[in-house]
Symmetry: C2
Subunit: 265 residues, 2 copies
């Protein structure tokens, strides 16, 4: 592959209606598809979260706790099916904008061990990129070598993809503007952090860990933790609001945008 | 894995309306899901064809000729997307009948070379079977190491799955009753062959090859050719009419059924 890929995460909270099970936010999906088409970045890998498609079923059947009783089995099937439905909505919107998107199901080729990626052969994804396709992966219910099955988050996936594909950058699209000095939903004096070094991030996270109850990162704590290996690897990572018009397009084009940039330095 | 798996093919001609693009035969799909649930065979792998979902797009964009010009790229995306839609309809019907079906996309983990399977890691499929899931694979548009992309037929897939998973038997569900002594659509004296040895099959095929224009196998020539490696490997193969009520259930249960049995002997 000539150019280093860009990895764009479309957060489940952005592309679905969080409080409404199995309801996609078609307005945001359509808008993102248009912006991705306009930005015309290549090679590009998309990864989306589960939002209100994956989470209710995963929770109902306790998929992430692993296989403990046979009644969970059908729940795994239903969780993956729901994720596939959301994936299809995203892929279809992209195709409508003439983006050669190909849904790639993590459950078809990834195995985890205690919830961590153990086996992930990226030959197909690399070949898709080489052939100028846009692979669209997603957080998924996957089989686990130790506990039967597990939930593979989109965030764990993007960090691994970024490292193994030698990505240039990660753009994480969520439903907030980026990282804040405090939780903006709790504290009106919270300020958006526009740039953060890896060292500063580590300090913030160790502080956040101590005060888990009040997640100072504005709900971003778990996500950022997953991204650390990629950031440490040198992959420039930006966090932007995917629900705010033109933000993802500007980030993709390296134009000035509102968000948080995290760099190793 | 303890027991040897059964591989059941649901022909595209059975589960879709051949002449109506993108129209599933919900009556047949629903009926098959019920019969598969009733038969309760495990381990079980399902593979379905493309029928009127895959074929029109694959043809329109000449996917099987490989990547010759960039206008085909979006066609590959559309062909896979259409196959994924059909897969989802099948999986959903199975889940409704409490069968723990998991769609497994060949394009996510198979690579071909000149249209023949070159790379297919079955760790996920084997693990699904071990965990008592029913993997549901399908004929798909896949990436090809030589020609960019290709169509992987469900028939090529089942032969390879049968050999690599050490399957006990293959049941091929189509929209005719089995193999005939002549094309039943052309010749009213054509008789259904209820049992065929591998040697007899080879004789029939070499004769069929010479008379390609009038496919004596009743449209089954290409399918059977793909199954030969599995039959030669010793996998008992039966051909049944998946559109005729109770036939697939009887075949799954090893009860007396109308169809053609092909054995190595």
């Amino acid at each position: 592959m000539k150019a280093k890929p860009t990895i764009l995460k479309l957060g489940g909270s952005a592309i679905t209606h969080k409080e409404k099970p199995f309801v996609a936010n078609f307005f945001v999906i359509e808008n993102l598809a248009r912006e991705i088409a306009e930005a015309n970045v290549s090679p590009l890998v998309l990864v989306h979260g589960g939002g209100s498609f994956g989470h209710p079923l995963a929770k109902q059947y306790a998929i992430n706790e692993g296989l403990k009783n046979s009644s969970q089995i059908i729940g795994f099937s239903r969780t993956h099916d729901a994720m596939n439905v959301l994936n299809r909505l995203v892929v279809q919107a992209l195709i409508e904008h003439n983006i050669p998107a190909v849904g790639v199901a993590p459950s078809s080729f990834v195995l985890t061990k205690q919830g961590r990626i153990e086996k992930m052969d990226l030959d197909v994804v690399a070949k898709l990129l080489e052939t100028s396709f846009v692979p669209v992966l997603y957080g998924d219910a996957v089989l686990d070598l130790d506990k039967g099955f597990a939930i593979l988050s989109g965030d764990q996936l993007i960090a691994k993809l970024a490292i193994n594909l030698g990505a240039e950058r990660i753009i994480v699209g969520v439903d907030v503007d980026g990282l804040y000095t405090a939780d903006p939903k709790q504290d009106s004096s919270a300020q958006l952090i526009s740039r953060l070094s890896f060292r500063e991030l580590q300090r913030t996270l160790s502080w956040a860990e101590k005060a888990k109850a009040t997640d100072v990162t504005g709900g971003m704590y778990g996500k950022i933790l997953e991204l650390i290996p990629a950031i440490e690897h040198g992959v420039r990572t930006v966090i932007v609001n995917a629900t705010k018009r033109d933000t993802v397009r500007k980030a993709l084009r390296n134009e000035k945008f509102v968000g948080t940039i995290i760099e190793k330095e």
